[in-house]
Symmetry: C2
Subunit: 167 residues, 2 copies
């Protein structure tokens, strides 16, 4: 985990990166979510990541509540790593990252397509405005201070927003 | 940039992380996208990141085409860093990460709310099935091989998917 790296950040992005911001973290979660990996050997084989790094990431995910350790053999004692709801909730972030890569770094087309198994249709990540529906241009999104933003920083954010936009 | 770290990965997530997977990268993009930061000093002041790291990230973003350098003063010669479309396209990933943090790591509520300036309504990241509409449960998403997946790996992916799901 990045630990104290982003400690002065009052920010949900920084807090998410504290648990998945280290190298290999998001690819380990990807394999747990979309490749059915549960055992140390599954991750090791598919990722080729150094074993101390892999073990440290899996232990970190258990500590952070993204995975739980489940014993699937008593003799020898062997564990697998199963995603919790908190871990599965990274799926939208991974799918959004996939779509960036598909658009800007996949000259031969997308390596992976996400589908809704119930109907077989494609699944995409979208930005949706509660009033206007789907937004095609992310430029049309503004950050406003929320309830947990300290007052002084909230005031600075409000000053930065144009009068028309913050009205 | 992570450079060759994920070279054996045929994966759009890995390719996205090659340009934004290093420490501070996504927070620098966040400030460019949502805090109006354009100048080295803006990023420096708001992030408190070591100056060699910040310069290396900004240079890397220019090299990767996520930002362009724009000279705003001739004497002294000073530049600012403006997001390109390729850089702005990380907004959905950042908003999805925000929503994870808001849900699992924001005990006092969300520090930031994303809004559509035209109407003032909230903006959210959603997974949308082309047939069924919004998916509330990311467990309901399956990864299938796309056109750029090498044949052998595509075959392994298909074998892993249950017959019912891959039909």
């Amino acid at each position: 985990m990045l630990g104290k790296a982003y400690d002065n950040e009052v920010c949900s992005i920084a807090r998410a990166l504290e648990v998945v911001g280290e190298r290999w973290s998001l690819l380990i979660l990807r394999n747990a979510l979309f490749a059915g990996s549960t055992r140390y050997s599954d991750f090791q084989r598919s990722l080729g990541v150094a074993s101390n790094v892999l073990q440290s990431r899996l232990d970190g995910f258990v500590d952070a509540g993204l995975m739980r350790r489940h014993r699937y053999s008593e003799q020898p004692e062997l564990h697998e790593y199963l995603l919790t709801e908190k871990g599965r909730a990274f799926a939208p972030s991974l799918i959004a990252l996939t779509e960036w890569g598909d658009r800007f770094a996949a000259p031969d087309g997308p390596p992976v397509l996400y589908r809704h198994p119930r109907c077989g249709s494609d699944v995409h990540s979208e930005l949706v405005c509660a009033s206007c529906g789907r937004l095609d241009d992310p430029v049309e999104v503004e950050a406003h201070p929320g309830p947990a933003m300290p007052a002084e920083r909230a005031e600075r954010m409000r000053r930065r927003l144009t009068p028309a936009a913050s009205a």
